[in-house]
Symmetry: C2
Subunit: 326 residues, 2 copies
């Protein structure tokens, strides 16, 4: 019987990489009932000052179905484990519970890393039944970040969840399927805007892989550059054979180092947390509710303010303000 | 100077297939300001009794980027125009305004049908800035349904918007890219659950197309059938050459006829409208607001109730109830 609040002790266990605590925390985040939501916020608030701005390396992996995201992720995990890093993986699952969810679970259970205690995999639904984006993905990233050295977020397909996840990670990797589309189609699907690194998979297709890489490079040259000091590299590799996987991880580390050196990482984390909390408030109170205390933009400003000691704590304050306003 | 409410006269012009009225109505639907939202609801309410349960044939076209959705759509439009049907197209655009949106517009402008007054194309954003799914897609479908014989909704990628669009159309067609994925990946991406018809494109790839078709058929045999009287056909064709496009349209018409004969079409329309209105209420008032009048399930029941004379009219009533509750 501890006298400390239960969420603080759960946070302690998380930071000690206790697998049972990770599972317990993720269940808490998944709980959509009001009591569950409050517990989840308390847990995130307890973690916030201790994880801080830096913490685990957070990597988003995106691309069309069949591009080889899972294989590439497996290859990255192998290299990272050899280097001694622990890895947490969130697979954002767009499909319903009916078939896809269970099968996705099976797929991960088949992985070689499944019995490695230094690797933790969790599949999370991309959306709740009513179309609201689950806040769970953001919470899941925060929790895995507390317990593991590297966190991957794998999103299936190209769509809304990708853009959302891109805001929550340090580095977004787009896995391209050779021959699956020309430049126009990449631009049409909006894939050129978000990624920090492109990995054209299946280099054994030869000319097709090189052509896809050229199309991507041409497309990247057309648009405005996302960042003045980072030109997204386009790698051509083969996840199955581990080809260029070291180079990919090297680029990921360099991108993270750049974010730290330029002070952008702290701002990125702050913005990601603020955005997640704003969404949570909008999901709960709608624009009508948030308008009662000045509207989404004013709320975002308060959440992102550098003087805000705890973004998750402020969520509770803002909730009370909305419910108390008239 | 007419004494009729402006939205009723706009509805009249829409039903007369006035292109300027279509553009004006879509702008109204896109307007996110409170006054715009009210006008849009008034317009939908004015259309509701006149369009009725049947109205235009509504077809969703989905599939990964590069699968050939746009080419297939072009081929379908050609055949439909030869038969004298007018066509409205909504392209749900997952990308930001920065590059994708404009480019998508260009792409459509390049189409042969672009100068045909019997064809209307509009690209709509899949999401608003704060992550809420735009109600605009549903409104856009209703508006094009009033003005044209056939309405297509093209979604890029596999994700949330697909599931949402599937609920708003009569028939969902999935365009598959040969060789882009095995059965496991199709299931993982959740593509087997929604579509009523599968079209494996690029039949000229020969064995690859046949293999993809076999994988899809095998996958469909595994799961529970979505409907007892409709086994989703898997066609193998080539959009570029018009191969199997007639057969696709034939299946689409047969699926619609089945929905009408079994009385499911009216229920489908009612559910789609109710769901769109529930989402609109959730977007505006959140779960906290909707809980003030019994919660989302109770609201859905009232919206779907067969005795509800106007689903769009009820939205206004429910809004007042929520704002007046304490």
């Amino acid at each position: 019987m501890s006298s400390r609040p239960p969420m603080a002790s759960l946070a302690d266990r998380l930071l000690a990489s206790d697998r049972a605590a990770v599972a317990e925390s993720l269940n808490c985040i998944d709980d959509q009932r009001p009591a569950g939501r409050e517990q989840a916020l308390a847990l995130l608030a307890a973690l916030e000052p201790r994880v801080g701005a830096a913490g685990a390396l957070r990597i988003g992996v995106t691309g069309a179905p069949g591009a080889g995201k899972s294989t590439l992720l497996d290859a990255c995990v192998r290299v990272l484990r050899q280097g001694g890093s622990t890895v947490g993986i969130i697979a954002v699952d767009p499909s319903s519970q009916r078939t896809g969810g269970a099968l996705l679970g099976d797929r991960f259970r088949m992985r070689s890393s499944a019995r490695d205690p230094g690797v933790f995999v969790r599949s999370m639904a991309a959306r709740d039944r009513l179309g609201g984006l689950a806040d769970a993905t953001h919470g899941g990233i925060e929790i895995l970040s507390a317990a593991f050295d590297v966190v991957f977020v794998e999103t299936v397909g190209v769509g809304q969840s990708e853009a959302d996840v891109a805001g929550q990670v340090d580095t977004t990797v787009f896995v391209a399927q050779p021959g699956a589309g020309d430049l126009l189609q990449f631009m049409k699907a909006g894939v050129l805007e978000l990624p920090d690194i492109f990995f054209v998979n299946k280099a054994d297709t030869g000319a097709a892989a090189q052509r896809t890489a050229s199309e991507l490079r041409a497309g990247l040259g057309l648009g405005e550059q996302k960042s003045a000091d980072w030109a997204p590299p386009v790698l051509v590799g083969a996840a199955r054979d581990g080809l260029e996987v070291d180079s990919l991880l090297d680029h990921i580390h360099r991108h993270r180092a750049l974010l730290e050196e330029t002070g952008r990482l702290a701002a990125l984390r702050r913005r990601a947390r603020a955005e997640a909390m704003l969404r949570s408030l909008l999901h709960r109170y709608g624009t009508w509710g948030t308008d009662r205390i000045g509207g989404p933009d004013a709320i975002r400003e308060r959440l992102e303010d550098e003087r805000t000691a705890s973004i998750f704590g402020l969520h509770t304050v803002l909730s009370s303000e909305i419910e108390g306003a008239n």
